[in-house]
């Protein structure tokens, strides 16, 4: 394939993907489905007369058409000073656990049953749906400068949805867990969900106003999402990131350190090279509140006149773009209990609604909360309904009161502690 492309192109790259997965589905507390999934596909990029072309196909027998499409695409492409990388070593990372890759169907079913039991112990009216997926996924990048990187991963992922209806009172939770190492951490994940359900049984009321707001790891992406967008090289190059041109400046409280770390063993987001064959590396992006870097793929780096950071990611059908591997917000010193104990009256944000809606890049957020709790006299009192929080991270994260010593992985690839903001706008029905 590469040879065929090089007959017409100055540079060429072929990306291949194949995966096999087994998925066990529980619906409304009961085993419901067993699924096997086979995926394959191929994408190509070329530079012809300095112009970049792309094409992809999930029909790997359609090679002629793929070649024709990618060359056609290059005829219409923009001039880009892009060079595919040379072979370079990357960090060694463990993301293939043979035990996990061969986990039996029976074991997956057992895990699902165990999780349902833990949730239903907390609330017998909970209706739990779970998808457990065990996957082996291989991607290969080859280019005309001799790169041939193969990434083989075996992630286990669990999607868990809980609905609990009592009269017109509804609790819904939708949570995602993933790992590339077989351990017991899924139990901690499900116990936390059970704990939330327990806490949600009690109702509490809260008046609108400015107050301390504690974001759980699950709730903190309200604040994290604008940062994720702001650090993306594409938004920086386009000049829409409020962080553009501010490298070296202190933008946030010095308690805040944000790292992109693809070198962690056992995390599905880790790998030795990115999807363009560039070596991965640990990048500190915000260091004690100070902006220290952004993330780039090859093309964005070429356009911006900077170096790629090993953050080129892609699906089969899309050209690479900058994306995080694992995002780590460094933990603090106080325990969650100590932080809660210090709050007279405030709000604990557990599940936000409408993440990603609105003008995220500007730093503004305004989210209704599907699950939030009132904190009073240093204790979590009960669930507050019909409540929303609003603010702007570039102002409101100038001062972070505390970060917890405990962290959790949420939304797949983000590791977060609890985060306390001293004063935020809270709007309620009362």
């Amino acid at each position: 394939m590469l040879d065929r492309l090089m007959q017409s192109a100055e540079q060429a790259e072929v990306f291949e993907i194949s995966s096999e997965a087994t998925k066990i589905g529980f619906t409304a507390n009961r085993l419901k489905s067993f699924e096997v999934e086979e995926t394959q596909g191929m994408a190509a990029r070329v530079l012809v007369d300095g112009k970049l072309g792309f094409a992809a196909s999930s029909d790997i027998t359609a090679v002629d058409k793929l070649v024709q499409n990618v060359l056609e695409s290059a005829r219409y492409g923009d001039q880009v000073a892009l060079r595919f990388p040379e072979p370079q070593p990357g960090p060694t990372v463990q993301v293939y656990d043979a035990q996990l890759a061969t986990l039996s169907t029976d074991r997956l079913i057992e895990m699902g049953e165990e999780m349902i039991e833990i949730v239903r112990e907390a609330d017998e009216q909970a209706s739990v749906s779970i998808d457990l997926t065990r996957r082996v996924r291989q991607t290969t990048v080859r280019n005309s400068r001799g790169v041939e990187t193969v990434a083989k991963k075996a992630p286990l992922s669990i999607m868990l949805q809980v609905e609990r209806v009592r009269g017109d009172d509804v609790v819904t939770l939708f949570e995602y867990f993933t790992t590339a190492t077989l351990d017991r951490s899924y139990r901690r994940f499900v116990r936390r969900i059970a704990e939330k359900l327990r806490l949600a049984r009690r109702a509490a009321s809260l008046s609108s106003g400015r107050m301390p707001v504690l974001f759980s790891p699950n709730g903190a992406p309200v604040l994290g999402l604008p940062i994720i967008h702001g650090l993306n090289g594409k938004n920086v190059y386009r000049g829409i990131s409020p962080m553009a041109g501010q490298e070296g400046e202190r933008l946030f409280d010095e308690r805040l350190t944000v790292v992109d770390d693809p070198t962690l063993d056992g995390r599905p987001g880790s790998s030795s090279h990115d999807d363009e064959g560039v070596p991965r590396q640990r990048n500190v992006l915000i260091d004690q509140g100070r902006l220290t870097g952004f993330i780039y793929d090859l093309k964005t780096a070429a356009l911006a006149g900077t170096e790629p950071t090993g953050n080129g990611e892609r699906g089969l059908f899309s050209p690479p773009s900058p994306a995080f591997s694992n995002i780590i917000v460094e933990a603090g010193e106080l325990s969650v209990d100590e932080i809660v104990a210090g709050i007279d009256e405030g709000l604990l944000v557990e599940s936000p609604l409408g993440l990603g809606q609105g003008n995220v890049i500007s730093g503004a957020f305004s989210n209704n909360l599907s699950l939030a709790f009132k904190i009073e006299g240093g204790k979590i009192l009960g669930r507050v309904k019909d409540v929303s929080v609003a603010g702007n991270i570039y102002q409101d994260m100038q001062h972070i009161e505390a970060l917890s010593s405990e962290s959790e992985w949420v939304y797949g690839g983000i590791q977060l502690p609890y985060m306390l903001l001293p004063e935020l706008n809270v709007v309620t029905r009362d």
């Binding site: 409408g354 809606q357 029905r429």
Partner: protein, 454 residues
Amino acid sequence: MRRETIEAALRASKADYTEIRIEESESTRVAFRGPDLETADVVLDRGGFVRCLVHGGGWGIATFNDVSDLKQRIEQAYEGARAIQAEPIELADIPVSEEDVKVPLDNDFRHIGLTEKKSLAEAYNDTLLTFDARIVDTHTSYVDTFKRVVFANSEGTYFAEERPMINVAFSAVAREDGDVQRAFEAISKVAGFDAVRDHHALVETVAQRAVDLLSAPAVEGRRYPVICNPRMAGVFAHEAFGHLSEADFVYENPQAQKMMVLGRRFGRDILTIADDGSIAGLRGTHKYDDEGTPTGRTDLIKDGVLVGRLHSRETAAKMDEEPTGNGRATGYRHPPIVRMTNTFIEGGETSFEDMISDIELGVYACDAFGGQTALENFSFSAAYGYMIRNGEIAELVRDVVLSGNLFVTLQHIDAVGDDFQWAEWGRCGKGQGGLTVSMGAPHVRIQDVLIGGE
């Protein structure tokens, strides 16, 4: 793929029920980001889905890109179904269908070259870029997809259906003194190339709005009477109410059934909400759903009272109701689940002037950036809004986020406009992610809505 091959594979199945869905699509995409071309390309996607039921087992499913050995895929799905012990799954009866559904397109986009598609997107993008120096970033995209779905099951249904779609989308980002604002419009239709031409005026409104939002104040957070424009009201119908009427939410949950009992009053007499997958040319329209059930209209709320819900064959059988043609799959990777098609609030009798005239202080919420619901709770971000002062539209405001409780809010709809229209785009993110849907509504007034904001 040949019909005989598919039918031979079905005949060889040992399962009690077997279905096969093969999807092939070709997409042409052009995308600009700022002055740079992101991509101008063609992608091909082909894959299959097989599902089996056996007595005493559950659903056995196989999905794949390699379609060369269907018999083996059915065997895999059959083994999957046998591998698990599950509650018996019944499927409601549907008529056996046999049809080849063609969707003729005026000026079929498959006969238009990449040159013309790129020029079109580039011209729209230039309109955005040159509008005002404060426009610092744009996203302009053109996508056409021609998909062909073949569905066959062991009951004898066999249909092939063309599912073409054409989209253009324009987004502009304006920046001034560190402040960043965004505006967006899109057109998406089951139509040929002409449907996406000649929209420069619309593109200019996008650029204008992004610039205007820079000097717009954030709305003050509190409760207001709100008028939703048709697009916002359509998203509300879909997100806040539609998802609750999907039977997979209630069919295995007695408490949820009690909450969504047919005959319960949800709103005033003026409120009627329905779903209809059979309206020509809309994004949620198909002749058949992905289980082979013909689509049609289902009233959900009629004159304020809950009268129906949306079903797949499985949920209909379980609840002893009729299947409604709402078993939809995002693609060959997914089983059909209960999804909306084209969901709408039926037009009423109040003119916009009458609706606004007695509002002293309120908010006019326009278009939706997005909406999300946790069943009884919802949250919607308006793309932009205006204050209403003394019965008239006043200043532009930003950061308009509506949130609240569904049951309370539906009761608070006290005026339904006489100006019904369909939105030009819509996507639903339930479960499997992006599925094309349409949403429609007239202007709708809701009393006492919580608007978040700084």
